[in-house]
């Protein structure tokens, strides 16, 4: 393998160092608010753009590596930039550029952590994510991985005076840490008992089926904990709402993807075999996660929790794609594996854009209104048209509607599913179409959720008086949002071009690409396998709709001569309407609650007819919490009380322990 020019990897390393430098400046100038917000964050954003550019340039090149004289003495930091890393770095840079720019206008003074510390944590977070993506040995990977968890934890707990936020942070870091230990064990198993923890050595190692499976399961658990796979997803809906919105955007949009990256890296790059049941496991887990996530998103009343659950859903979809890729790969159907992988990667990119966009939009709403409860928002399209229109793009994208980007990746994934009849395993034949059903169901529910999300926040009439004071986004914020919206649109319209870039990744990992077929019929039509098999042209689609709208509009103008009069809403003639009569978030979630009742723990507080001040309250909680976490906590509790018996304060008993130990060992040793 020829060594490519060290330029891109050098630039990326430079950006990481640059970010760390910004972080240190932030630490030094902790209270200089203007410096931090007007200079440091935009600079960080510029760095992100440079990083994305360098990574993009590296996509087509041969892998480049670098060894830094840091780290453990026998294991200096190895960096390597191959197509997979480059792709995720593009994702990181492209998304974080917008988030940094947005942050420049977002963070306010006097909110918990001083601005300089926020800057420190934020840029540490960025740098560590880039570190994860560049790492080429287990140690650097773990260091960057945990630094990422740690810096994001501090960002989550910015507003640490609220007990719920502290709890959220704790839960997040705990699950992240347990996951990290699993990843560590995974690396331990993977180095094939050679004692060499570079990825290069792991690529060489041949593991037996048992150990490979152990490795994969550990990786699935460890990375799944970070990504938010069931059942270790519980931290996600707690931590994402707790964080400041740019941080939620970063966590949801980018950090979760690093987990996907890790899973891909381990499964497709470091392990030399893939077994089919791994794929089935990942597929099943992914789909269950997707359904579970979207189901819970539908019943949330907090807008950021809703988005967080939606992230759970999207991660589920991505992992399902990865699982499918594994299945195909295990049976040597490399083209199809590449198709599924492309779909998963594409969805990663899409999710990064639209989810960041929506989180940033909610961040602005939160700032402008001080409210995150959907039941108290409404009608914001009049107060903040910019944000509302941009958020509409994100909403349509996340609801996977054509011609935006969310649709493309789901379309590709469904295409991949439709090839599963070619699999030689008779059980998989039947399993996978049903799985496609689950995927479609999740996607359709996402539409439901997003209508609720957008409609309740931006449309209708304001549910609270104070919403009248809400203002539109500032210039920094607008710029950030626009970048992401443009991303959603372009990614949706030019899939052929995007897939041509993704091909570098699939060629690297699977040895096959869609390139020769995907663009066979030109740049206009996306034909992943064969033109007669399936095709889709979002640009044509968009053009036709736009022409249709324009033509209709023109026709109506031609024939119609009436005037437009404004009046009170009709609403079947009901008098005395108030904004409180609109559907609330709970109301919108009611059908879902009813249909999927067994999955929720619902607590209702209903007013009686005689209540002077009637109150209605309802909480919906996760059953898994009762099924998995509380039992585990109780078990740990029981263990501790069991252990506590050991130490009851009597010195005689303590002496007995020593005595007993001594005797036991003496008898053992002889």
């Amino acid at each position: 393998m020829s060594q490519a020019g060290p330029l891109p990897i050098g630039i990326i390393l430079g950006v990481i160092v640059f970010w760390l430098g910004i972080a240190l400046v932030g630490l030094a100038a902790q209270r200089r608010f203007r410096l931090v917000s007007q200079v440091l964050f935009p600079l960080g954003g510029a760095g992100a753009l440079v990083l994305a550019g360098a990574a993009f340039a590296a996509l087509g090149q041969a892998p480049a590596s670098l060894v830094l004289p840091l780290g453990l003495p026998d294991l200096p930091f190895h960096l390597r930039l191959d197509a997979l890393s480059a792709f995720f770095l593009v994702l990181l840079g492209g998304t974080s550029f917008a988030i940094s720019i947005f942050s420049a206008g977002y963070f306010r003074q006097a909110e918990g952590t001083p601005p300089g510390l926020l800057c420190l944590q934020y840029h540490m977070f960025l740098a560590s994510m880039a570190g994860v993506l560049l790492a080429d040995d287990a140690y650097l990977f773990m260091v960057a991985w945990e630094t990422m968890a740690l810096s994001s934890y501090f960002l989550v707990t910015t507003n640490h005076r609220i007990p719920e936020i502290r709890w959220a942070g704790f839960l997040y870091l705990l699950i992240a840490h347990v996951g990290a230990i699993a990843i560590l064990l995974c690396f331990g198993a993977m180095q094939g008992f050679q004692g060499d923890y570079t990825f290069a050595a792991m690529r060489q190692a041949h593991l037996s089926g048992f150990w490979a499976s152990v490795t994969f399961l550990l990786a699935l658990f460890g990375f799944g904990a970070k990504a938010g796979l069931l059942p270790v997803h519980v931290w996600l809906p707690e931590a994402h709402p707790a964080a400041p919105s740019p941080v939620s955007a970063m966590m949801s949009g980018v950090m979760l993807k690093t987990a996907v990256y890790g899973l891909l890296r381990v499964t497709f790059d470091l392990l030399d075999t893939q077994l089919w049941w791994w794929g089935v496991l990942a597929l099943g887990l992914g789909l269950i996660t997707a359904l579970y996530g979207v189901m819970f998103a539908a019943v949330q009343a907090d807008m950021k929790r809703l988005l967080a659950y939606s992230s759970v859903e999207n991660i589920g979809i991505i992992v399902a794609g990865v699982g499918l890729a594994i299945v195909f790969r295990a049976y040597g159907m490399n083209t199809l594996s590449a198709l599924a992988m492309t779909a998963a990667l594409y969805h990663c990119l899409n999710h990064a854009f639209f989810k960041s966009l929506l989180f940033l939009a909610t961040g602005h709403v939160l700032h402008a209104t001080g409210e995150r409860n959907l039941g108290k928002l409404g009608g914001l399209i009049h107060r903040m048209p910019w944000v509302a229109i941009i958020a509409l793009v994100g909403t349509l994208a996340i609801a996977s509607l054509p011609p935006l980007n969310g649709f493309v990746s789901e379309w590709l994934l469904l295409q991949a599913f439709l090839f599963s009849p070619d699999l030689p395993n008779p059980y998989l034949h039947m399993l996978i179409p049903s799985a496609a059903g689950a995927l479609v169901l999740a996607a359709a529910l996402a539409g439901y959720v997003m209508v609720k999300f957008y409609g309740v926040i931006f449309l209708g009439r304001p549910r609270e008086d104070k919403l009248a004071q809400a203002h539109d986004a500032g210039n920094w914020e607008k710029a950030g949002l626009l970048w992401l919206a443009a991303g959603c649109l372009l990614l949706g319209i030019f899939p052929v071009y995007v897939i041509a870039q993704l091909d570098f990744v699939t060629v690297d990992l699977i040895g096959r690409a869609l390139g020769d077929t995907a663009g066979k019929t030109g740049w206009l039509f996306l034909t992943p396998v064969a033109p007669e098999r399936a095709s889709y042209s979002p640009l044509l689609f968009l053009v036709v709709i736009a022409v249709g709208v324009g033509f209709t509009y023109w026709m109506v103008r031609m024939f119609y001569h009436g005037r437009l009069r404004r009046g009170d809403p009709w609403d079947c003639g009901y008098p005395a309407q108030t904004p409180r009569m609109q559907d609330t978030a709970e109301g919108f979630g009611q059908p879902i609650r009813q249909i999927f009742e067994p999955f929720f723990v619902i607590e209702r507080e209903l007013p009686t007819p005689f209540d002077g001040a009637p109150r209605y309250r309802m909480t919906t909680r996760d059953r898994l919490w009762h099924w998995v976490y509380l039992p585990v906590a109780r078990l740990a509790e029981r263990m501790t009380s069991l252990v506590a018996v050991l130490q009851q304060g009597r010195i005689h008993v303590y002496l007995m322990y020593s005595f007993g130990t001594l005797l036991l060992l003496l008898l053992f040793a002889r």
Partner: protein, 317 residues
């Protein structure tokens, strides 16, 4: 994707045909219903007259309406038009068809629906949001079921492109596919739900607590309402055309066969008439369900769709 003159011609003919004929088809269904109910009926062209009446009225719009509310009718209409351009009605040689396969077709319907639901919530009335919620409830179950139907068909033809599916089904030797029977039933259920027909919804009612579709468009008037009504008619026709294409595809022209046009046209009109009659009959003999039963109804459709796919694997592969 060979761009041929004939293809362009077919494309234009069928897009215009479906759009223009749609109100007539609606009128036919209403007329049939009236016959079944022993009424004399408003006449076949009543929908056109309605549209004309609406277009000539002054529009009233609520104070709180935003740009979204005003744009939605146009988007809706454009989406339906696009859908009408994809479904092979007369010929499979459609140059625009590769732009969107069945999944994208479902996406188009979803796009239209999301816009409509958002517009319904825009004014901020109780009924608007109620309608939006119910519509989305129906949709999230109907959409997967519809896709399952399409998938069953595409498993047979190894393609998700609607034209290819129709070509395969229409021009291969005749085979009875049990899976398609399941799919047909599922499609029928989805068809009723998606087009707001009895038993899921009643297009003729403004009875507040039971309506779904009508609740969403309560605030629309004049030209906007006209566009929506027209779009709804196109949707009904397009769905019927899809049903015809999937389950009764005989008579559709293959690429390059000019001479088949009259036959194809005749076959299509006949099938459309039959379908309208069937729909009217079905609507007459069944009663509107409670809204809470709708999930079960559509759940059945979804299940049938999945079963169809499974049967495809069990019996036909």
């Amino acid at each position: 994707m060979q761009l041929t003159i004939s293809g362009l011609l077919y494309q234009t003919i069928q897009s215009l045909l479906l759009v223009l004929v749609a109100p007539l088809f609606l009128g036919w269904v209403n007329q049939c219903r009236a016959w079944f109910q022993n009424r004399s009926g408003p006449g076949l062209f009543q929908p056109y007259r309605n549209l004309l009446k609406l277009v000539n009225k002054d529009a009233v719009m609520a104070h709180g309406a935003s740009g979204l509310f005003r744009t939605t009718p146009y988007v809706l209409f454009a989406c339906m038009w696009l859908a009408a351009g994809i479904v092979p009605v007369l010929a499979t040689d459609l140059p625009y068809a590769p732009a969107a396969d069945v999944i994208a077709l479902v996406g188009v319907f979803a796009l239209a629906r999301v816009f409509l639901a958002l517009a319904a919530m825009d004014i901020g009335t109780a009924f608007g949001s109620l309608g939006a919620r119910r519509e989305m409830l129906v949709a999230f179950l109907a959409e997967p079921a519809l896709l399952m139907v399409f998938f069953t068909a595409s498993l047979i033809s190894h393609s998700t492109s609607l034209t290819t599916i129709v070509e395969t089904l229409a021009h291969r030797e005749f085979v009875v596919y049990p899976s398609m029977a399941f799919a047909a039933v599922a499609f029928l259920l989805v068809f009723l739900a998606e087009n707001a027909r009895i038993p899921v919804d009643n297009p003729a009612t403004h009875l507040e607590l039971t309506m779904i579709h009508e609740a969403m468009i309560l605030e629309y008037s004049a030209r906007h309402l006209a566009l929506i009504e027209w779009a709804v008619a196109i949707k009904l026709t397009a769905y019927t055309a899809i049903g015809i294409a999937l389950f009764m595809p005989w008579g559709v022209i293959e690429a390059g066969h000019w001479e088949g046009l009259p036959t194809a046209l005749g076959a299509f009109v006949a099938k459309l008439l039959a379908a309208g009659l069937g729909l009217a009959l079905l609507e007459t003999v069944s009663a509107k369900m409670r809204i809470f039963r709708a999930p079960e109804f559509l759940g059945t459709a979804f299940l049938l769709g999945v079963l169809g796919m499974l049967i495809r694997f069990l019996l036909e592969s």
